[in-house]
C-alpha cells in the first residue's frame, strides 16, 4: 500500500486519528480511572487499566463528605463568575469603542492590550500583594477577581474587537436616525449581533479564572482560596493516596470539561482568532 491510497481512503485516517487521540488523552483517562480505584488497586502491579468494578470511595471521602473541598469549590465559582462579569463589563464598551468609534490613540491602546496579555502574572503579583494589603483586598474574592481580570481583560478586548468590526455600519446608522444614543446603539443593536463573541469571551474568562493559580497562591494565602490552590495543598497532605488526589483533580477539571463540551465551537474559533490574527 503506498502513500497515495492511504490519503484516499478517509476511514484509514479516522482510525489513525482515533488512535492518536486515545494516546494523547490517556493522562485524562488515567486521572478518571485512578479516581475510581480502591486503595489497594492503585498499588497493583501491573496497574489495572480499567477500574472494574468502580470504587467510589475516594469521592465519598474527599468530595461529598469533605466540607473543606465544598467550600473552595464555592470560592472558585464566585471568583470565576465574578471575573467573567467584570471582564465583560469593562471589555465590551472598550472593544466596541476601539472597533467602531473614532478615537485618537486607539492603535496604541490596542498594542498595550496585546502586550498586557503576554505579561507573566508573577511580575504583577508582587506589587499587587503590597497594594492589596494596603486596601484590604488580600484573601478576598474581590481581590482575586480583580487580579484575574488583569489577564482576561486585554485578552477579551483583542478577541472581541473583530466581532465588533464585522457589524454592518448601516445597522448602527439606522438606529441613530431613529434617535438611539451611542450607548443605546451598543446595547440594543450591536450586542445581540455579537452574541457569539460575548459567549467566547465569557467562556474564556470563566475557564481562565477557574484554572488560575499564581495570583491565588500569592494573594489568598489564608482565606477564600480557590480549588487550584486547595488541590496543590492536597498533594502535600495526601502523599501517596493517588486515588483521592485524582478524585479531587477530576472534580476540579469537571467544570472545564462541561463548559468545553457545551461551548467548544466558540472556544476553538476564539482561540484561533485571538492569537494568529487579532
Amino acid at each position: 500500500m503506498n502513500a497515495q491510497s492511504i490519503t484516499r481512503n478517509p476511514y484509514i485516517k479516522t482510525v489513525i486519528g482515533t488512535l492518536l487521540l486515545l494516546v494523547y488523552l490517556f493522562p485524562v483517562y488515567w486521572m478518571i480511572a485512578t479516581s475510581l480505584k480502591s486503595r489497594t488497586d492503585i498499588f497493583a502491579t501491573p496497574p489495572t487499566l480499567f477500574p472494574i468494578p468502580p470504587d467510589f470511595g475516594s469521592y465519598a471521602r474527599e468530595v461529598v463528605n469533605n466540607p473543606e473541598l465544598v467550600e473552595v469549590i464555592i470560592n472558585s465559582v464566585i471568583i470565576s463568575f465574578g471575573t467573567m462579569l467584570l471582564t465583560l463589563v469593562l471589555a465590551v464598551p472598550g472593544a466596541y469603542a476601539l472597533a467602531r468609534l473614532k478615537l485618537r490613540g486607539a492603535g496604541v491602546i490596542l498594542l498595550v492590550m496585546l502586550i498586557s496579555q503576554l505579561l507573566p502574572s508573577i511580575v504583577i503579583a508582587g506589587p499587587l500583594f503590597i497594594i492589596f494589603s494596603r486596601v484590604g483586598l488580600l484573601n478576598t474574592h474581590l481581590g482575586l477577581i480583580v487580579a484575574d481580570t488583569t489577564f482576561t481583560l486585554p485578552f477579551s478586548v483583542i478577541i472581541l474587537r473583530p466581532f465588533f468590526l464585522a457589524v454592518p455600519h448601516e445597522l448602527e446608522a439606522a438606529a441613530k436616525v431613529d434617535g438611539c444614543t451611542q450607548l443605546g446603539v451598543l446595547w440594543r443593536i450591536v450586542l445581540p449581533y455579537v452574541r457569539p463573541g460575548l459567549i467566547t469571551v465569557g467562556a474564556f474568562a470563566f475557564l481562565i479564572a477557574w484554572g488560575e493559580f499564581v495570583f491565588a497562591l500569592t494573594l489568598n494565602t489564608n482565606h477564600n482560596q480557590p480549588v487550584t490552590v486547595a488541590l496543590n495543598k492536597f498533594i502535600g497532605q495526601y502523599g501517596t493516596q493517588w486515588n483521592d488526589m485524582m478524585a479531587v483533580s477530576t472534580v476540579v477539571a469537571l467544570p472545564i470539561i462541561a463548559v468545553f463540551a457545551s461551548l467548544q465551537r466558540f472556544i476553538v474559533s476564539g482561540l484561533t482568532s485571538g492569537a494568529v490574527k487579532e
Partner: protein
C-alpha cells in the same frame, strides 16, 4: 465608515454645538473604565516593580518604611548570583526543548488534520481539552504518572523494554526537568496544532493544484509550497509559544516546586521565591523587571509581526 465619510464637507466645518461636542468626547467614556482598570492593576504594578527594584527592600525595611536607595545594586547582585544565572539557563532549556517538542508534534498533527476525513472536527476539538485543563490538574496527573513506585510511565517503559530499573522521575535531579518538560509539551501540543492548522488552511489550494499538474511529489509540495507559505504563521506561533512557555509557573510549581535541589527553579519560580519565600522584595522586584524586559522585547516583536500580517 462609509456613513461617516459620506457627509458633505460643508457640514463638518460648522462649529460643533456644546451638546455635539459632549457627545463626540463621550466616545472616550467607553474606554475610560477599561483604561483606568489597566492603569491601576497592571500599569502601576509594573512601575512599582521598577521603583522597588532600586531600594534595599526587605521585611525589616518594609515595616519601618525607610528602605535605603541602592540604585542598580540589586541588579548587579542578581547578575553576580549563580542561582539567578542558573535559573535563566534552566528557563532557556525548559522553554527551548518544550517548544521544539510541541511545535514539531503540533505541526505533524496539523498536517494530519488539514485534509477533511470523518470525525476530523470532533477529534481536533477533543485534543484542545488538554490545553484547557487547569495546569494544576495537568501537573497533578503527571506527578502521578511519573511516580517512581507505581507510576504508569515507568511500567510502560519497562513493558516496551526501554528500561529495566525504577526511575523516580521528579525526585531525581537528572530527570526532574525532563519530567516537567514532558508535561508542558503535552499541554502545548494542541495549542500549536490549532494555530498551525489555521495557517495551513489559509494557503490557497490553487498552489497545490498547479504543483500537481507539474507532477510535484508529496515531499516537493511540502518543501516548496507548505513550508515557505507557513513561515510567517510559524514564526508567530514560535514567538507566542516562547513567551507562554518562558513564563510557566504553575505546572512546574505543582510538579516539583522548583526542586529537587533547584534543578527546576526556572526564572518565574526564582522570582516568586525571592519575594514570597525570602521576603527580599527589592531583589524580587529586580528579578521581575529583568523577566519582564526579556518578555516585553519578544511581545513587541510579536505585536509587530501580527501588524505586518494584517497589512499584507
Amino acid at each position: 465608515m462609509a456613513f461617516e465619510n459620506s457627509r458633505p464637507a460643508a457640514y463638518r466645518s460648522v462649529p460643533l454645538t456644546w451638546s455635539a461636542r459632549l457627545s463626540k468626547n463621550s466616545h472616550y467614556l467607553f474606554v475610560v473604565p477599561m483604561l483606568i482598570f489597566m492603569l491601576l492593576t497592571t500599569g502601576y504594578p509594573i512601575f512599582a516593580n521598577f521603583q522597588m527594584s532600586l531600594y534595599d527592600l526587605n521585611v525589616a525595611t518594609f515595616r519601618s518604611g525607610d528602605a535605603p536607595f541602592v540604585g542598580l545594586n540589586n541588579y548587579l547582585e542578581l547578575l553576580r548570583d549563580p542561582a539567578f544565572v542558573y535559573s535563566v539557563q534552566l528557563s532557556l532549556a525548559f522553554t527551548s526543548v518544550s517548544i521544539a517538542l510541541q511545535f514539531t508534534l503540533g505541526f505533524a498533527l496539523a498536517l494530519f488534520f488539514n485534509r477533511p476525513f470523518p470525525g476530523n472536527g470532533l477529534m481536533r476539538s477533543l485534543l484542545l481539552l488538554a490545553w484547557l485543563l487547569p495546569s494544576v490538574v495537568g501537573g497533578t496527573i503527571f506527578r502521578w504518572m511519573l511516580d517512581g513506585d507505581y507510576g504508569v510511565f515507568n511500567y510502560f517503559l519497562r513493558g516496551i523494554g526501554l528500561m529495566q530499573d525504577t526511575r523516580y522521575w521528579l525526585l531525581d535531579p537528572n530527570t526532574a526537568l525532563a519530567g516537567t518538560i514532558m508535561a508542558n509539551a503535552w499541554v502545548g501540543i494542541p495549542f500549536n496544532m490549532i494555530l498551525l492548522l489555521a495557517g495551513l488552511q489559509s494557503i490557497s489550494p490553487t498552489y497545490y493544484e498547479a504543483a500537481n499538474i507539474d507532477g510535484a511529489s508529496m515531499f516537493q509540495r511540502f518543501a516548496y509550497i507548505t513550508l515557505p507559505m507557513m513561515r510567517p504563521v510559524a514564526l508567530g506561533v514560535l514567538l507566542l509559544s516562547f513567551i507562554y512557555t518562558f513564563k510557566v509557573f504553575d505546572l512546574i510549581y505543582v510538579m516539583t516546586a522548583g526542586g529537587p535541589v533547584n534543578v527546576t527553579t526556572v526564572l518565574p519560580i526564582f522570582t516568586y521565591r525571592l519575594t514570597f519565600s525570602f521576603f527580599r522584595f527589592g531583589d524580587g522586584a529586580a528579578a521581575a523587571v529583568l523577566l519582564l524586559l526579556g518578555l516585553l522585547l519578544l511581545a513587541i516583536g510579536y505585536a509587530r509581526l501580527i501588524r505586518f500580517e494584517e497589512a499584507a
